[in-house]
Chain length 324, copies 2
DNA sequence: TTGTACGCGTTATCAT
DNA sequence: ATGATAACGCGTACAA
């Protein structure tokens, strides 16, 4: 049925070893033999079985990607770049959505290990540090520092938070709200909050903080959060949202309430997502493509057993546009 | 290093066959043996090697997904559901972005076949019919009817086009524009165009058609298209955009030009994407989750050699909101 | 330069 | 009920 290396060998009249050699271009082979083997392969439409190769080589050329939710634009864009660089380096990508569900994340890790993936990029973090350390597989994480031995890639969250808060203050906001996903998750994104708090406190600016609950990752969960904020604090004149999606909800609520942006309320988002409807939003742009690239390349280094940068913190950029 | 079935066998003092049997729960085994084997597995922290299993069983439990671009919200949401159902049925997902690049699509297909995936879901279609037919792998396509033998999943594009056009006419638009991606791609989405044309022509309504060029899939490509439309036809009072992203650009341009929506210009989108900034858009909603579910389930049927529905056309729904 | 033989980890086919 | 042994398809010492 399926044509194997053996069929090629028989057809050409050589051993499987020789065929394998030309396949991998190893050792010394006469050009004429190379030719004949190649022709036989083409003729029989031979395709090497990657499963068998992986089993034999103990290397699958597959990397696993675990993220909360591919339908979230930030992760969708990140994944696009991760796929790009993985492909470029000859790796395939196994996509895993954890949905921030601890059980599913755990199952996926076991599944990936069983599937002999060569490494994992973790963009979802619902388990304990102990769980991650016991993975025993080359690992790179995004936006989370799990342990000193696991390399992570992040952007400069503190600086992002500082830039956003400073801008709102400079634009003379008197009462600023900070909106975010759950702060209990031990993400580096929490540093945006830290920067916000330190800044407003040291400058003596009135402020409010609101966060979604633990499982709130879906777009619809943001609505009550935002509505509640404006209901309880109608005098808010500046909002720092820790994601562009959240900021978008704020803009929408302002429209609904008839608050002029940026005249009455100024809004800063976070992420710098490329999306329709976000072109006017002032935001902190993360270097998403670079994060994807380094996640892949550092993982490859890690897999190769080479020295890998443990802490990678990329610069962010303030995109000052029309909502401030 | 890695603990194998053999280690378990030795530890328990049985043959590998027996261990394999309890692993797969096949044949007759005494409960006491099951117990002892289980314990040994737990103790040694044994995990079966899926690669070896796949090689032996000739089944990998992996399905390949080829789409144009995961960062496009429609495909991101579709992928989310595909991953959900694949996981539910015990399958892993290999993610492939073709970027509408013929070469990459082709390479990915070869790669997937070499990786012994059990089947492929095709959401990208840049090759010729002949190429697809020669894939020789269980296949299900989205929004494209490639050949009578390849099952496809689509929503009712003709009806969607009809609903949108009828709505604009009913709302007394006098000059309607149709905006779309490239029509030369032989996608079923072309039926939206057909419905549009038939409707405006039979009703004698003035109309304009604009499409992006072949490679235009990126969000930024829409901008000149939309600007050109309004520049050349300032008297447009209705727009049917064949995607929500495109519609979003139209809304943006209207805002820029000071055209009131829906008072001066009415806009209908397509897809029904869940995204910030699209809550107010009147649109034709595709059943994305259902499309993902059926793509997976029909592929599984196909793989199992069972009777598979060849043509699946799902109903669409008009979401009449604030832009009409 | 090429071939033999074994290993990769698991399942399947026959035995017993 | 349990065990040898041969696949699965390929890579690679080691030998020649």
């Amino acid at each position: 049925m399926t044509v194997t290396i053996k069929d090629i060998a028989e057809k050409v009249g050589v051993s499987v070893t020789t065929v394998s050699r030309v396949l991998n271009n190893r050792g010394y082979l006469s050009d004429s033999l190379k030719q004949r083997v190649q022709e036989a392969m083409d003729e029989l439409n031979y395709q090497p079985n990657e499963l068998a190769r992986s089993l034999s080589r103990r290397k699958s050329h597959v990397i696993g990607l675990i993220i909360p939710d591919i339908s979230h634009p930030f992760f969708a864009q990140l994944t696009k770049h991760i796929e790009y660089y993985a492909y470029k380096h000859g790796y395939k990508l196994m996509l895993c959505n954890s949905l921030l569900h601890r059980q599913k994340e755990k199952e996926y890790i076991d599944l990936l290990r069983a599937s002999q993936v060569d490494g994992i990029i973790m963009g979802s973090h619902t388990m304990t540090v102990k769980d991650y350390v016991s993975i025993r597989l080359p690992l790179v994480t995004l936006d989370r520092q799990i342990s000193p031995s696991i390399p992570f890639i992040a952007s400069d969250n503190y600086r992002g938070g500082k830039l956003a808060t400073d801008l709102l203050i400079r634009k003379s906001c008197r009462k600023i709200a900070y909106l975010s996903g759950n702060l209990r998750l031990h993400l580096l994104a929490k540093q945006r909050y830290d920067a916000f708090m330190e800044t407003v406190q040291s400058r003596g600016v009135e402020h409010v903080v609101r966060e979604t609950d633990l499982n709130g990752f879906k777009y619809k969960d943001y609505e009550p959060l935002v509505q509640g904020l404006f209901a309880e604090h109608p005098d808010i004149d500046g909002v720092f949202a820790s994601s562009d999606m959240l900021a978008q909800q704020v803009l929408r609520e302002c429209r609904r309430l008839g608050r002029a942006v940026p005249e009455q309320v100024k809004v800063v988002g976070y992420d710098g997502i490329q999306a329709a409807g976000l072109d006017e939003l002032t935001t902190i742009q993360q270097p998403i493509k670079e994060m994807g690239r380094l996640a892949v390349e550092h993982l490859l280094l890690h897999m190769a057993g080479e020295e890998t940068p443990l802490e990678t913190i990329l610069p962010v950029r303030l995109l000052e546009r029309e909502t401030t």
